[in-house]
């Protein structure tokens, strides 16, 4: 089944057909304004398709039970800046149903992962842009979701830490988590299991990085992307 999304008269997503499997990292690539964020919002249930529907584990979104199993990281950080990082984490942990006994441990784990343990008690106002991004990612991972929907998770994060975060994605994938990331960074695209190229609301190509390169007879994703776009 394909989905179409319109805001008013403007068609933002046009007949997108896509099915994602557990245990894969799906990378969504596309120019700015092509509809990546809109697609992610549809998947996590805060927008609904004008035509067609999104199904997760055979259930139609939005569905509260499913939302418990999804970790979402929005493109713009949604944090309470006047609170400390710990207070943010505690709040989102209870909201997403992390058990109180596990809460402290989970917070330590995710903050270690994004390298922010020593800034736990700092107010988010005092965080840098990249630190906020990392905190948002930590929040998305808090409740051990089966599906991770991450809208440009690594913007403003330095290469070393980005490497570490992608290693974590890889580990989660092996555990059977489905990860969807949108990105503009091509070396990240190479680490995805599959890629989807989106342009002006249309999904123009789907396949593993190697498939896409072979199809376009190019050697890098960047070239492949440009070939499809051209």
């Amino acid at each position: 089944m394909s989905i179409t999304k319109r805001y008013g008269k403007a068609t933002i997503l046009d007949g997108i057909e896509l099915s994602l499997q557990r245990g894969e990292i799906f990378g969504l690539l596309g120019p700015s304004g092509s509809g990546k964020t809109t697609l992610v919002k549809l998947l996590c249930g805060i927008e609904e398709a004008t035509e067609g529907s999104v199904q997760v584990f055979e259930e139609r979104m939005p569905d509260l039970k499913l939302m418990k199993r999804i970790g979402y990281m929005a493109q713009s950080d949604a944090l309470y800046v006047e609170l400390t990082a710990k207070e943010n984490l505690e709040f989102f942990a209870s909201i997403s149903g992390v058990k109180r006994a596990e809460c402290k441990e989970r917070i330590q784990d995710v903050m270690k992962l994004v390298d922010l343990e020593q800034h736990l008690n700092k107010k988010v106002e005092a965080y840098s842009g990249g630190m906020k991004r990392r905190l948002s990612l930590a929040i998305a991972l808090l409740h051990n979701p089966d599906i991770l929907l991450l809208d440009e998770p690594t913007v403003g994060i330095d290469p070393a830490l980005r490497q570490k975060i992608w290693d974590t994605f890889e580990e989660l994938r092996k555990k059977g988590v489905l990860i969807l990331v949108t990105t503009h960074v091509m070396d990240e695209a190479d680490r995805c299991t599959r890629l989807g190229l989106i342009r002006e609301g249309k999904l123009i190509a789907v396949g593993s990085p190697d498939q896409l390169k072979t199809n376009t007879q190019t050697t890098t994703i960047e070239q492949a992307f440009l070939t499809y776009g051209g």
Binding site: L64, M67, I70, A74, L79, E87, E90, F91, I95, S96
Partner: protein
Amino acid sequence: MRILALVIRILRQFIHDKRTMALMIIAPILVLTMLSLVFNGEELKLKIGAVNVPNAMIERIEGNNVTVTKLEATEDVKREIKENDYDAILNFGRSENEIHLEGSDPTINKAIVERIRSSMGSEQTEANMAIQYVYGSSEMTTFDHFGPVLVGFFIFFFVFLIAGVSFLRERTQGTLLRLLASPIKRWELVLGYVIGFGLFTMIQSAIIALYSIYVIDLKMEGSFFYVLIITLMLALSALTLGILLSSFAKNELQMIQFIPLVVVPQLFFSGLFNLDTISDYLSWIGPLTPLYYGAEALRDVMIKGQGISDIWVDVVVLIGFSLLFIILNIIALKKHRRI
């Protein structure tokens, strides 16, 4: 559980945001104090003219900032008051003893009448004393009279603004959508807000009411407990209305624009001005506004000393307003997420 998380978060935000907390408590106190000083501040100096008043009585009236001047009998008391700046003229010796009050300042009116009453011997009964007003009338209010309205109004004003802006920020900073991407239910979200802000509002209302009654010394005939209940219910309606209207605002400035549109007009219908004189074209608005009921109940308790049997209708209506706004809020959130 999720509601509790929201409540804790909101209270933590208050604790971190000392300025907002101070604004919500100190600003109403400050304004009320200023108003009370403006209206009751200075010692009154009264200038009274006397026609045919026995000397013994003049002596009793005089002193302590009151001067009495003997006048010739005059027909045109009104002109005498206007030209020589008397606050009042006593005209005795007719069939009826008359007090002509200048009348424009209710505080002065009250002071004069009380003064004269107390200086009259027991042989003079009130029945043969006629009070006439050159300007105004005995219906005019004093700070005691509109104090309760203002207490209600300022609580309403600040709770409306702060709750509205907080919920608006939740939307503009993206955390509302982030929350709706979690398994939280819409009613849990609204209820969390109501309880979190409600708790803070409870403290705020209590402090403002205590201050108004014991420091500003507003007239207080009834039970303090009822005042608390009324202000809390009024604050809840402000809170839920603020959250509701915030969904029609795009930014803080637009939220502030609701104040002259939605909050201030309520003051006009809350008894600050004489309700009987409001044009019929507008008078239907009053009963649609929460402050109308809150102010009435506060006046009943603080001025008339009435109890629950007289105010319960107002309190129930206020609860009704809050419930209605809560339900509308839950519906309004559908805009963001269907379930």
